[in-house]
Structure formats: structure tokens, C-alpha cells
């Protein structure tokens, strides 16, 4: 039902009654932009005060414009793209391998109790170990090359994505399965036409978690051994007190993580259209 129309659907009416009218889209957007502007303003102000009052050496807290200038300069010189490309490439390979493994193991584990009993204990044993603790092991085993970095992302992102996938399948209303069976669904059809679509929204939430985690852990492995990548830029900046470079790389990581999140959300909106249908 179109927003703003007089006739509301029942769930819409309930939502309205419980939480009041929804904020119009344009106003919501204005508030969001305002939030970012305020943040940048506070940052500029802080940097300005440090500079004016001479509290400490201003190179430690450059204002946002200085950071942006540094990023732009690196972009124009071209060196930035190699770093961004390296990080993105590692995340893409590492994350997609992790996601593929999580789905390949998680879907059957959620659906078949025997598989779950076989897979879950090992996962539960390994999961509490902080991924960082095994990074040195990865380096010892596979060296400091690209495969170690991608492999580390795969390892770190596998667990949350596997667990959400298992949960997504397990929480499916058993009556949906019964309804499909009494309409003649055979096991294969049940899996592809009921279990997969019913689990998809939560699986996608898990994938978003995985994307965020990918950017989280790639930086660390780029600290330890890399000649390229945003994590390298930060670490490199630390050695030479290049604070604008450090902050610039951090901001870029934030932007990339945000974009990755938005990308999965876009997929979510496409495949889970029915959830927004209200």
C-alpha cells in the first residue's frame, strides 16, 4: 500500500498505533545528513582549538579537511588505488570463500540433525578462540602472502556466518514445511522452495556481519605483513607520524565497510521484497 494513502493495511495501522506516524523519508534523510555535518563540525572545532591554544603538537589531530586533502592527493598521485584495490581484493576473496563455506555447511547442518551433531561441536570449540590468536599460525602455515590474508578473513568470518545460517534454518516455522509437504513438495523442492527462501533474510543478516568483520580483520593482517593495503597505510603512517594518512586510511575503511553493508542491504531489499511490502 502506498505510503501516505488514507487506507492503511492492518499491520501498518498497528505500527502507527504503537509507535506513532513514521518520519517522512525526506526529513529522515535531512536528519542523517545533519548528523554527519555535526560530527565533522565537532572534529574541525577540536582540531582548531588544539591548533589555536597550542595544547599539543597539532600534527597529532589534523582536521577533517587536512585528512581529506591527503586522501585526495594520494588519489591524484595514483598510489591510493593500489592500496584500496589490494584491501578490496583480499576482502572479496576471503569473504566470499567464507560465505560459501558457511552456506555449504550451515544449510545442511540447520536442516539435518545428524549433520548438525557432526559439525557443530567442532565449530563451538574453535569459535571462542579470538581469530587474532590464530593469525600468527596462519603466517607460520601459509606464509605472509596473499593467500594467508584472504584465508584469515575466511577463517574469521566463517563462524558468525555459519551460526546465523544454522539458526536461520532452525527457526523456520515447522508448519511451513508441513504446508509444503501436503502440497506435494519432495525433499529437494522443500529445500529450494521453502527452506532457502524462508531462511534467506536471516542468512543475509549474517552475511552483513561477515562483511563488517572482513574489514575488521583485514587491517590487522595488513599491519603484520603487507606492502600494500589500507592497513599497511595506517601502520606505515604510524612509523613516520603521518597522522593524516592514518586517519585517511581509517576513514576509507569506514566508507568501504559502509558500502559493503549497503551492497548486502540492496540484495536484501531485492530478495526479501515481501518483508517491506507493508
Amino acid at each position: 500500500m502506498a505510503r501516505g494513502s488514507v487506507l492503511l493495511s492492518v499491520p501498518e495501522m498497528m505500527e502507527w498505533g504503537l509507535r506513532g506516524p513514521a518520519v517522512p523519508r525526506r526529513r529522515a534523510l535531512r536528519l542523517r545528513v545533519l548528523s554527519i555535518v555535526l560530527f565533522l563540525g565537532a572534529w574541525s572545532l577540536a582540531a582548531g582549538i588544539v591548533q589555536a591554544a597550542g595544547l599539543f603538537n597539532p600534527i597529532f589531530l589534523p582536521g577533517p579537511w587536512l585528512v581529506l586533502g591527503k586522501v585526495l592527493a594520494m588519489a591524484v598521485q595514483g598510489e591510493l588505488w593500489a592500496h584500496v584495490g589490494a584491501t578490496l581484493g583480499r576482502v572479496a576473496i576471503g569473504f566470499s570463500t567464507g560465505a560459501a563455506l558457511a552456506l555449504l555447511l550451515g544449510l545442511p547442518a540447520g536442516h539435518v540433525r545428524a549433520v548438525r551433531n557432526l559439525v557443530e561441536p567442532v565449530v563451538e570449540l574453535l569459535r571462542p578462540i579470538p581469530p587474532l590468536a590464530v593469525l600468527p599460525l596462519f603466517i607460520v602455515w601459509i606464509g605472509i602472502g596473499e593467500s594467508a590474508k584472504a584465508g584469515f578473513i575466511t577463517y574469521a568470518t566463517f563462524f558468525p556466518m555459519f551460526l546465523t545460517t544454522v539458526h536461520a534454518v532452525r527457526q523456520i516455522d515447522p508448519l511451513l514445511i508441513r504446508a509444503a509437504q501436503s502440497l506435494g513438495a519432495r525433499p529437494r523442492q522443500l529445500f529450494f522452495r521453502v527452506i532457502l527462501p524462508a531462511a534467506l533474510p536471516e542468512i543475509l543478516t549474517g552475511l552483513r556481519l561477515g562483511v563488517a568483520l572482513s574489514f575488521f580483520v583485514i587491517v590487522i593482517s595488513e599491519f603484520i605483513a603487507a606492502e600494500q593495503g589500507l592497513g599497511f597505510l595506517i601502520n606505515d603512517g604510524r612509523s613516520f607520524f603521518l597522522v593524516p594518512q592514518m586517519l585517511g586510511a581509517a576513514v576509507l575503511l569506514g566508507v568501504l565497510g559502509y558500502a559493503g553493508n549497503a551492497l548486502v542491504r540492496l540484495v536484501e531489499r531485492r530478495v526479501a521484497r515481501w518483508q517491506q511490502a507493508v
Binding site: M1, S9, L175, Q181, S182, L183, R193, P197, W274, Q275
Partner: protein, 253 residues
């Protein structure tokens, strides 16, 4: 006989204790007959329905459909649940076409059949909506259309109108009566509403309180289109009420 329930018993085991839910149920359902299973809550009427649907296995006894034993759920027995249970990611039309899609029926054929049944339940103009956009009564209409479109010879209905408000409930009862006069399915209908049972059923099967047995069967000899205020109707109602009350009283003893 369309459905033969032969000495069916069912008990559930929880915490090492066996609780009988159904004891020695014998029931023959004729082709095109509408049977209402009536009884106090917990009497096992839904359990019996679930056994006929193939969702549960009886502890002993057998169910025959067209002379063949039931071994699991199947497309010959459509089910309508109290909770509607539509596929939320499919449109109304997608839901109605679901069984046909499984069978590999071509798209234009599916659309034609879905349209026919959506017309029958008065939802053609809502075909492209998603279930979240529908009211409870509309959802249940979709569920009925979905079951019918799959062309089962039997429809099993588990308190299908139990979650609806009184007005919607009566409207849907009337619609089901009208649909049955067109579709002639064999229907097993679980309810705890005596009025609903007398309004819809060819025969009303009253069950005892737990463990469930068949207490008495009433053949409702009323015209196809029924008047809830006719003296004969209220006569059946009060007769059945008396029998049901004995059972409800037992539960509270």
C-alpha cells in the same frame, strides 16, 4: 469409502511417561462428505487430523485413503491450518500456484487455475499482494484457494476459522458451504464450535475428553443451504451441546 480410519490409537511419550491421546478410533468417511470433528480442547481431534494428513504416525491402527494406507503427507490431502501458514515470500498468486509449480504445470496454465480459485474466494484484485498485507480472513481465503488449486480429493481443516473474529468467521463458513457445493471435496473439519459444526457438516463426530474416543456421531439432516435460526438447526445445536457438555464437565472434575 474415501477415508477409512481403522482402530487408530496414538500416545505421546514425554519425560518417560506415555500419555494416550487417541484410543481405538474407527471412522469411515464417504466420498464428498463433510465431517466435523468436535470435542473439548485436548481431546485429540487435531491429532487425528494430523495422522490423516500424514504428519504424525499412529501408535497402532491404519488410515486408508482410497483403500491405500497413508504413509506420509501428500498432494491428495490438502491441509488448511488455523495459523494460515502462507509462504510469506510469495505473492497471493504465488501461494495459490505453489502446488502446481511443484508438479511442473506450465505458467499460463497455473495462472488460469490460480485465477479461478482466487475468484472463488473473492481475492482476484489482491493477487499481487504479499501475505503481510492481508487481514486474517483474507489470509485464510488464500490458504483455502491454495489447497483447492492443487486439486486434492480430500481437504483437512484444523480449526481454520478459530483465529478469526465472529463476523468474519460466519462469512467464511458461508463461503466454505458455497465452495463445497461447487467443488465436492471430502472434508475433515476440526472445530470446537458447535454452531460451526451444525452449519457445515454432513455428520458431526463428537469426541470424548482425553484420551479421545468417538462418543457419538450425529447425521445432520438439514438442507444444503442452512439457516442458523431455523428451529431444526437449534434443535441439533442443543442436542449436541448436551453431549459435549458432559465431556467438558469431565475435564473440570
Amino acid at each position: 469409502m474415501k477415508i477409512q480410519v481403522q482402530r487408530v490409537s496414538k500416545s505421546f511419550t514425554a519425560d518417560g511417561r506415555r500419555t494416550p491421546a487417541l484410543v481405538d478410533i474407527d471412522l469411515d468417511v464417504a466420498d464428498r462428505e463433510l465431517i466435523c470433528l468436535l470435542g473439548p480442547s485436548g481431546c485429540g481431534k487435531s491429532t487425528l487430523l494430523n495422522i490423516v494428513a500424514g504428519f504424525l504416525e499412529p501408535t497402532s491402527g491404519t488410515i486408508l485413503v482410497d483403500g491405500r494406507p497413508v504413509t506420509g503427507p501428500g498432494a491428495d490431502r490438502g491441509v488448511v491450518f488455523q495459523e494460515y501458514v502462507l509462504f510469506p515470500w510469495l505473492t497471493v498468486q504465488g501461494n495459490v500456484e505453489f502446488g502446481l509449480t511443484l508438479k511442473g504445470v506450465p505458467a499460463d496454465e497455473r495462472r488460469r487455475i490460480a485465477r479461478r480459485y482466487l475468484e472463488l474466494v473473492g481475492l482476484v484484485q489482491h493477487a499481487q499482494k504479499f501475505p503481510v498485507q492481508l487481514s486474517g480472513g483474507m489470509k485464510q481465503r488464500v490458504a483455502i484457494a491454495r489447497a483447492l488449486a492443487n486439486a486434492p480429493s480430500i481437504i483437512l481443516m484444523d480449526e481454520p476459522f478459530g483465529a478469526l473474529d465472529a463476523q468474519t468467521r460466519e462469512i467464511l463458513q458461508e463461503e466454505l458451504g458455497r465452495i463445497q457445493r461447487v467443488e465436492h471435496k471430502t472434508i475433515l473439519f476440526v472445530t470446537h464450535s458447535i454452531r460451526e459444526a451444525v452449519y457445515l457438516a454432513d455428520r458431526v463426530v463428537v469426541m470424548t475428553s482425553a484420551p479421545g474416543r468417538i462418543k457419538q456421531i450425529f447425521a445432520i439432516k438439514l438442507p444444503e443451504t442452512r439457516d442458523r435460526f431455523a428451529p431444526e438447526f437449534t434443535q441439533y445445536e442443543s442436542e449436541i451441546t448436551r453431549v459435549v457438555k458432559e465431556e467438558v464437565a469431565k475435564v473440570h472434575e
